[in-house]
Every structure is written in C-alpha cells, then in structure tokens.
C-alpha cells in the first residue's frame, strides 16, 4: 500500500520538525501532571480502573488511523480553525483551573478538548470525523464523580448478588443473601463495588471496540448491536466471577477465596467476557443478510 503524502516542501521534514509533533509534545506536557494524578489517585481503585485501558485503546486506534489522517488535504476551513481556537481556549482554561485547584475531572477534560482542537487544526472536519470514535472514547478516561458511581453501582451490586444467589441455588448450594452479602456455610462474602463492575463494563466496551477493529469490516448494525450487548455480557461475566468466588471459598476455604480474588478473578472476568463477545458476534454473523 503506497502512502500518498500531501504536497510537502523541498526537504522531507523529519518527525521532530513536523508542526503536528510540536503540538503533540505541548499536549503531552499539558497532560503529564494530570496523568500522574489520575494514576496515583483514581486508577489505583478497582472501581475506576478502566482509565488506563481506555486511554491505551484510544491511542492505539488513533495511531492506526495516522496514515489516512495524514493523507487528507492539509488546509482546515475557516470555521474549523475558529472551532479549534475555541476548543483550545476552553481546554486550556479547564486544564489550568482543574490542575491548580485539584479538580481531577476538569483537569482531565482540558487536554481532551485541546486534543480535539489540535486534530481540527491539523486536518479540519474530515480529520475529526476520522478520529471521532477514539476521541469520544477518551471521555471515559475522565473520572466519574463519586455520586454518579455510587448511584449506579448500588443497584448493580444488588442485581449481581441476586443473580449469583439464584445460580448457586440452582446448583444446590446453601446460600443466603442479605443485601449484597452472600452467606454460605460459615463464610460471609460481600459483593464489593469492584465486583459490580461499572469500571469493568467500561473496560469491556473498550476491549469490544478493539475487537471490532481487529476483526474487520461488518455491517454497521452488527457492530452497534454488539456494542450494546456488551453491557449485559459484562453483567453476566461479573455474575460468573462472583459465583466462582463463592464456589472456591466454599470448597477450598477462605484463603483460597482471597487468593482467587486478587489473582485469577479479574482474568476470569475478561476471559468469560471475551468468549461471550466472540460467541455473540458469531451468532450475529449467522443472521441472514437482507438482499440489497
């Protein structure tokens, strides 16, 4: 595949001489302290652990689009430049206020808005359309306010506990549930926020996006359906994780249960989710195509 470069000056500029590289470097400097703050304050908690994954997936998707982005005509239109200037100003203010006042969501939003501005400056509206998905995904790197997380996590925890209890009853296990606490034998296990999986839901959606990119083109309705189905799939994966934890604790004891929790539980969650996602995708692929 031949890369078509836009008309360039006589000398082929090295990477560090490219204007885009300077803007990206500036963006990196702006985002660096916020990334450190996120890493030490937000991403260490299980309930907000989806940040780095989504960031990585988003950057990877953008890097993948680089050849096509670079091939677009260079000059952004006047409205695009104005929009870019507005976004850069708003983003800069958000970053400065957010960083100086330690308001993390604002500090995270700043570099994001500036990134959109930079894309607009570089390749205008077509460029923005190309990178729309990874840029929107970046929104999920912004830490959610505690009240929102609490409001959504509580019913989720309850639902996961209820379904897990039902499944265990099907298997004939003597499980009693009180709120989000599952009691089996002499063990009492509390379905914690991390097990409710709000964060893992975001992570799984990001992995789903990755999967869609890697799998190749498919009708839009299939991709959209899969993206939506990922939410209940994530729920199912979380239920499986809780059920397995209870079984491990019941059969192998408390220490084994804790070991599982800190080690294999997360891997199990993603393995189950990936398998379910692949199965769902293959099932959707069997759907008879409407004649066009």
């Amino acid at each position: 595949m031949a890369l078509h470069h836009a008309p360039a000056p006589a000398l082929q500029p090295v990477l560090w001489r490219r204007p885009l590289a300077w803007m990206l470097a500036g963006l990196a400097l702006m985002a660096a302290p916020t990334l450190c703050a996120l890493a030490t304050q937000v991403w260490v908690h299980d309930e907000q652990g989806h940040g780095p994954v989504i960031l990585a997936v988003s950057m990877w998707l953008m890097a993948r689009q680089w050849p096509r982005l670079h091939a677009l005509p260079t000059q952004p239109t006047a409205p695009a430049s104005i929009a870019a200037a507005l976004l850069l100003c708003m983003g800069w203010a958000a970053a400065v206020v957010g960083q100086s006042q330690a308001v993390l969501p604002l500090a995270a939003l700043g570099p994001m808005l500036c990134a959109v501005g930079v894309v607009l400056l570089y390749r205008g509206w077509p460029g923005l359309r190309l990178l729309a998905l990874p840029l929107v995904a970046l929104l999920f790197v912004v830490p959610l306010p505690g009240v929102v997380v609490q409001a959504v996590t509580l019913p989720l925890k309850l639902a996961v506990s209820m379904v897990a209890e039902w499944v265990l009853h099907l298997g004939g296990y003597p499980v009693a549930r009180s709120g989000v606490i599952l009691a089996v034998d002499q063990y009492r296990l509390m379905v914690a926020d991390a097990c409710a999986g709000l964060s893992s839901m975001f992570t799984l959606e990001a992995m789903g996006l990755l999967y869609l990119q890697l799998r190749g083109p498919a009708p839009a309705w299939r991709d959209a359906t899969l993206a939506v189905l990922l939410v209940p799939l994530a729920f199912v994966a979380n239920v499986v994780r809780v059920v397995v934890l209870v079984l491990v604790t019941y059969h192998l004891g408390d220490a084994a249960g804790r070991g599982f929790l800190h080690g294999a539980a997360g891997l199990l969650l993603f393995a189950v989710a990936m398998v379910l996602m692949r199965l769902t995708d293959r099932t959707l692929a069997l759907w008879p195509r409407s004649p066009t």
């Binding site: 001489r17 803007m23 960083q99 006042q101 330690a102």
Partner: protein, 236 residues
C-alpha cells in the same frame, strides 16, 4: 529552528499552540493555592475544643457513634486530620451521638468519602434523604441535611452539615463553587463534617432533639470557635 521548517504550512500557528499547551502546567503551578485558612483562623483541636460536658449534657461512654468500617477508616485517616466521635446524655435521659471529621485541606474531593449517605450505606444501612432544613442557632439559621437510616431493628435519624473555612454549606455544586473561588484566590480552605444522630424513629421530635443539642453546643463554644464548627462567618 531553520527558516524552511517555519515556512511549512501551519508551522507558526502550530508553534504558538504548542507553546500555549506547554505553558498550561507552569501557569497551573503558579495558580495553585498555598495559604491555608486553618493558619489564618487558628488550629482546630476537636478533642480539646468540643467540651466533654456543657449545659445539661454529659459525655455518655455507653453509646458509640457509628464508625466507618476499617477499609473506609483507612481512607478517612488519609484524608482527614482529626476525627471525633462522642455521645452525650442530657439530664432527662435523651441521648445524642456526635461525629466530627475535620480536614486541614479540603481542596481535594475528600468529603465524599465521609458523607453519611456513603458511610452508612457502605455498612449495610438503608439511607433515605429527607431534604434540607434549617436549625435555629440564636440569630443564625444553619442549613442541614436530614437523613433517615435503618439497618434491621436499628433506626437512626441523622442531621449533618459541612463547614468550609468559617461558613456552613451542604455537599453539592454550590460548595464546589465556593471551594473553587477560595482556591483561585489562593486559599486552601479547611473544613469539617458535623454529624448528629439519635436512635429511634425518624420523627420530627428526633430532629428537634438534634436541633436543641446543636443549639446547646453552639452556646457552649467560645464565640471565636463558633463559625469554624457552625459557620456564620463572613462569606468568602
């Protein structure tokens, strides 16, 4: 920087943008608040400043206010400078639980962790929001949030408020905005969360007891300390 590189399309603009982006960090550092209101208004010492006995109230060691579970306590210890949990009994037998959490630095969003809604729910309580009401403290009207909590047979009505420097607020956008204004003016505001609760049904009489306890404590504190615990100081 060679001239031909600068002649590349959009190069000068890119340089300007890059410079502005890179400047965000140093500017944010310069704007970071450094002065502490705690140093301006004097140190808070919860254990020493909250009297053990005042008016018709005595400390009651048989009743212990609800404390956060150990995992949450670790977070609280990290974010709060001082915590005090004390129960009082009035001469007529009425008992009240008082819980205070003071933070020297409220600039980071630490209060969310200690709010009764989360603290109690995290320990299996069901918490119902009964809205915002006013407590009369002499000439001052203190705005508090009322909650009705219960876990099994234990019913516990709660009234609470938060101070920011020497004003009283409730959690929400208004408080965040106040904090932001103080911060942009260069101040790190201190503040505390004051929680009053009793055991029993969440009836008006219970909340009236909270109010009467608050009023008595307000009177018992020296005038200089009252705004730090109850607000009512000049608006920031």
């Amino acid at each position: 920087m060679t001239a031909d590189v600068l002649r590349a399309p959009g190069a000068r603009r890119a340089l300007l943008v890059a410079g502005a982006l890179a400047a965000a960090w140093p500017v944010a550092e310069a704007l970071r608040p450094r002065r502490r209101t705690a140093e301006l208004h004097g140190a808070i010492n919860l254990a020493a400043q909250v009297p053990a006995a005042f008016g018709s109230w005595q400390t009651d060691i048989t009743l212990r206010p609800l404390l956060p579970d150990p995992a949450l306590q670790a977070v609280v210890d990290a974010t709060y400078s001082q915590v005090l949990a004390r129960s009082f009994q009035r001469s007529d037998g009425a008992r009240v639980m008082l819980s205070l959490a003071y933070g020297n630095d409220q600039a980071s969003d630490a209060t969310a962790v200690h709010r009764p809604e989360f603290c109690y729910r995290g320990q299996g309580f069901e918490v119902q929001d009964l809205g915002e009401h006013f407590m009369a403290l002499g000439p001052q009207a203190l705005q508090v949030r009322r909650l009705a909590s219960h876990r099994g047979p234990r019913h516990e009505p709660i009234s609470y408020w938060i101070t920011l420097d020497d004003t009283a607020t409730l959690p929400g956008l208004g408080r965040k905005w106040q904090q932001l204004r103080l911060g942009l003016a260069g101040w790190i505001a201190d503040g505390m969360l004051v929680r009053i609760s009793t055991l029993g049904p969440a009836v008006p009489a219970a909340f009236a007891l909270h109010a009467s306890f608050a009023a008595d404590l307000h009177t018992a504190l020296p005038a200089a300390l009252r705004p730090r615990y109850f607000g009512g100081g000049r608006a920031p």
